[in-house]
């Protein structure tokens, strides 16, 4: 194993996962000297009754829930952030709990920023004003689909992104009661994002052993639990395992930045309005196949994570990189049982592929060429591996 000449690594959030994890919330708050959290969650989760379990977790503690702010849909916008920040101030809250994923967490980060820094707008931060001090404690309780940005220092509100270390959530509390999925489509989309992030971490050009160590369990858990979870989305064990994988992969991506797949899928999602998870789910199997043919072999680590020590050791050493890619592609193909099989099936116009490829190559800043992107898109369009 080669150690790179230099690297930087940070896994900021604490992870608490498993049986009774929710009941640790009062202690976690107490550890940050907080007694009155504002809970931010989505309409869908409130309707599904998940908030009830959250409220129960605070029984027999001294924590008063300042309010449960639950009108969030699938978009994080400044007006809701402002409302919630006002609620935060009115009730004298001292911490934020985000119950959910994606926009809920983005909104919670924004609320935290507005409330801690006592501002009405995010504009100064878009313009580059640095965030002054440490913000209030932010705890995330993942539930429902993820966008891969939860455990990173980035937040996207009104389609604009701010990145700052102050935005890292402090704790992730993963509990089977919250992480089991309601439907297979959401689950597959989240898994596609997790897979892309972990895959990027393990195949990046300048590897760091710590990023490997963080992405390894993400990929291993995905390989083990994706099939059972797709078969039965409500499965608690599998749901918890995938949620663990999602947090780890997201935290890994905070160290690696986006790879080819994320950039390409983001460009595609922008151009077509299809959600990021679906785009990734369609692109991954074809893109992985493309990497296989490139002359630079991927590292053995990918194979180790996906195959496990036993099978990895049994393979002949020169086969490991290729087998790693095959296993990754096979995992991505499992998603196709739920997600659309091709871009054509999603009614994406063929003429869109060219501009998407170019945008992606531009954003990728030399990491890959427009030709590579175009090849992947074309194959994904026709579903031609």
């Amino acid at each position: 194993m080669q150690i790179p000449d230099s690297y930087e690594f940070l896994l900021y959030p604490k992870i608490v996962s498993g049986r009774c994890a929710l009941e640790n919330l009062p202690t976690e708050l107490d550890g940050h000297n907080a007694q009155k959290p504002l809970v931010i969650t989505s309409q869908a989760l409130a309707r599904s009754g998940r908030t009830k379990a959250l409220i129960k977790a605070f029984y027999d503690s001294a924590v008063v829930i300042g309010a449960i702010f639950d009108p969030v849909l699938d978009y994080a916008g400044i007006s809701q952030a402002r409302q919630a920040a006002r609620l935060f101030g009115n009730r004298g809250c001292d911490a934020i709990i985000a119950l959910g994923g994606g926009p809920v967490v983005a909104l919670a980060k924004a609320v935290n920023l507005l409330a801690s820094e006592k501002r009405e707008t995010l504009q100064p931060y878009y313009d580059g004003t640095p965030i002054a001090g440490p913000l209030k404690p932010l705890i995330v309780v993942p539930s429902g689909p993820t966008d891969g940005q939860e455990a990173t220092p980035a937040m996207t509100v009104d389609n604009r992104t701010i990145v700052s270390d102050s935005l890292y959530p402090g704790v992730f509390v993963l509990d089977g009661r919250m992480t089991s999925a309601d439907d297979g489509r959401d689950l597959a989309e989240s898994a596609a994002i997790t897979l892309a992030q972990a895959f990027t971490a393990l195949t990046m050009a300048r590897p760091s052993p710590m990023v490997d160590a963080l992405a390894h369990p993400a990929l291993a858990l995905l390989a083990q639990y994706l099939a059972p979870a797709l078969r039965r989305p409500a499965d608690k064990t599998a749901g918890l395992a995938l949620a663990n994988a999602a947090v780890m992969a997201s935290a890994a991506s905070a160290n690696t930045g986006p790879g080819l797949f994320q950039v390409l899928a983001a460009a595609l999602a922008d151009a077509t309005g299809i959600c990021l998870g679906t785009c990734l789910g369609i692109l991954l199997p074809f893109g992985m196949a493309a990497l296989q043919k490139a002359d630079q072999p991927v590292r053995d680590e990918l194979c180790l994570c996906l195959a496990g020590t036993e099978r990895y050791s049994a393979m002949a050493a020169p086969d490991r990189p290729v087998r790693g890619l095959e296993l990754a592609a096979a995992l991505a193909r499992e998603l196709q049982a739920v997600l659309p099989a091709s871009l054509k099936a999603m009614r994406v116009q063929h003429y869109l592929l060219e501009p998407v490829a170019r945008t992606a190559a531009e954003k990728g800043a030399g990491g890959f060429t427009a030709d590579e992107c175009r090849a992947i898109l074309t194959r994904a369009w026709e579903a031609n591996a």
């Binding site: 194993m1 230099s6 710590m210 049994a314």
Partner: protein
């Protein structure tokens, strides 16, 4: 990969690793809004020229507020209080700790006092006393072993009460760990060997003890692989910077693993012989590790067998049937100790009777073993060991470890 029914994991230390990372400290401190750090270190580190090296590398990027290099080997709270006064007198706003375990723990203690106020560390003893963000703390480890740069506990002695006080809190975690092989380059061979075996023990125990979890497993596995690939090479060839970097990385990763999964009986025994007979920690670890593995075979044979993969590589792993793997793991560690013994010209002891003090006298008289066994009961590491270990169980282990004979079951 098995997801445990419950786990938690936290290591919010920004890690910089590489052959030129010392130079980046000023930039990182600026990011933490500090510009006036106090350097905490000990005489040995200073004498080896390491403080100068760090200061030089940092250049004019920042003004050093004070240098406190009086940390003794067994640091206590009085040192902490003393250093805190120096920090305040010079108006410092951050700490850079340069040294091994004792220095790092002392720096953590100083940080508690200067951040939370008061005159003495004693006010913050106990769980939950440290519950606020502390001042920036940068750690530059000079041994590749203790992993203290990644742990969330400070262990500081109280000489009056003759106890070790624990200060566990997530806020104690350093903000930045700087892993630069220039810092461990001059470490003598036998210290390189024993400190690396300490890291090896952290990783192994993290892998088979009760609090193991997917993340700690992953970090532990990589740490073990790095140590077994590089240790002997570095001991034979001390100038090998790449190897040094690998060992320092391994030490940090083992630190991350055991800080989140705790250690077991090897540390239990090690802490006890350390306290009673002053056996250096790393030495005790390398001696007890094979016994800790053997003792836990009943409860943890599977994870112990899996250690063969990072230790001996995939080929040996595949060629060994599952049932024989645990025995081979133990044999492998014993082999490593033998090799290190040979490579250091006998300075790396293989059993307790070979451990000698500065004057060449035996540190652990055989007659003391029953007392040591009795005292093991008082150590917290006992709790996270998979197999119960009572004094009556510890005694035969100690006797075998004294003689250097394998533990029969």
């Amino acid at each position: 990969m098995l997801l445990p029914s419950f786990y938690d994991f936290c290591c919010r230390v920004r890690t910089l690793s590489g052959i030129d990372t010392l130079e980046q400290i000023p930039r990182q401190l600026a990011r933490l809004r500090a510009a006036h750090p106090m350097i905490v270190s000990d005489k040995g580190v200073g004498a080896a020229g390491l403080i100068d090296k760090v200061v030089q590398a940092m250049g004019d990027g920042l003004k050093i507020g004070a240098v406190y290099d009086q940390v003794p080997v067994d640091s206590d709270y009085k040192v902490v209080d003393d250093a805190a006064k120096v920090y305040r007198r010079n108006g410092c706003d951050a700490i850079i700790a340069i040294g091994g375990g004792s220095v790092i723990d002392t720096a953590k203690g100083i940080n508690i006092v200067v951040s939370l106020g008061g005159d003495s560390l004693l006010a913050y003893e106990g769980f939950g006393a440290v519950n606020r963000r502390l001042r920036p703390l940068v750690v530059v480890p000079t041994t590749a072993g203790t992993g203290s740069e990644m742990t969330l506990v400070a262990v500081i002695a109280d000489p009056d009460r003759k106890i070790k006080m624990l200060f566990p809190s997530y806020f104690i975690l350093p903000d930045l760990a700087v892993i630069d092989p220039r810092m461990t380059q001059t470490l003598p061979d036998f210290l390189t060997a024993s400190t690396a075996m300490d890291a090896m023990t952290h990783a192994c125990e993290a892998y088979f003890c009760l609090e193991k979890n997917p993340l700690s497993d992953s970090f532990a596995l990589r740490a073990i692989r790095l140590i077994s690939q590089h240790l002997l090479e570095v001991v034979k060839n001390p100038g090998d910077l790449n190897g040094r970097l690998a060992l320092a990385n391994a030490s940090a990763m083992a630190g991350i693993a055991f800080s989140n999964s705790m250690v077991g009986m090897v540390h239990n025994l090690g802490h006890t012989v350390g306290a009673l007979c002053h056996v250096p920690h790393g030495v005790a670890m390398s001696i007890f590790l094979p016994y800790g593995l053997a003792y836990n075979l009943g409860k943890a044979a599977d994870p112990i067998g899996e250690l063969l993969f990072p230790l001996a590589g995939p080929e040996v792993f595949a060629a060994t049937p599952k049932k024989e793997r645990p025995a081979k793991v133990i044999a492998h560690i014993r082999r490593m100790n033998e090799d290190l013994h040979a490579a250091t010209g006998g300075k790396h002891p293989r059993c307790l009777k070979e451990v000698t003090g500065r004057d060449g006298s035996q540190l652990v008289p055989r007659s003391l073993l029953p007392a040591i066994a009795e005292a093991t009961l008082l150590d917290g590491a006992r709790l996270t060991n998979p197999e119960e270990m009572l004094p009556a169980d510890a005694l035969p282990v100690l006797e075998h470890a004294w003689e250097g004979t394998p533990l029969g079951r």
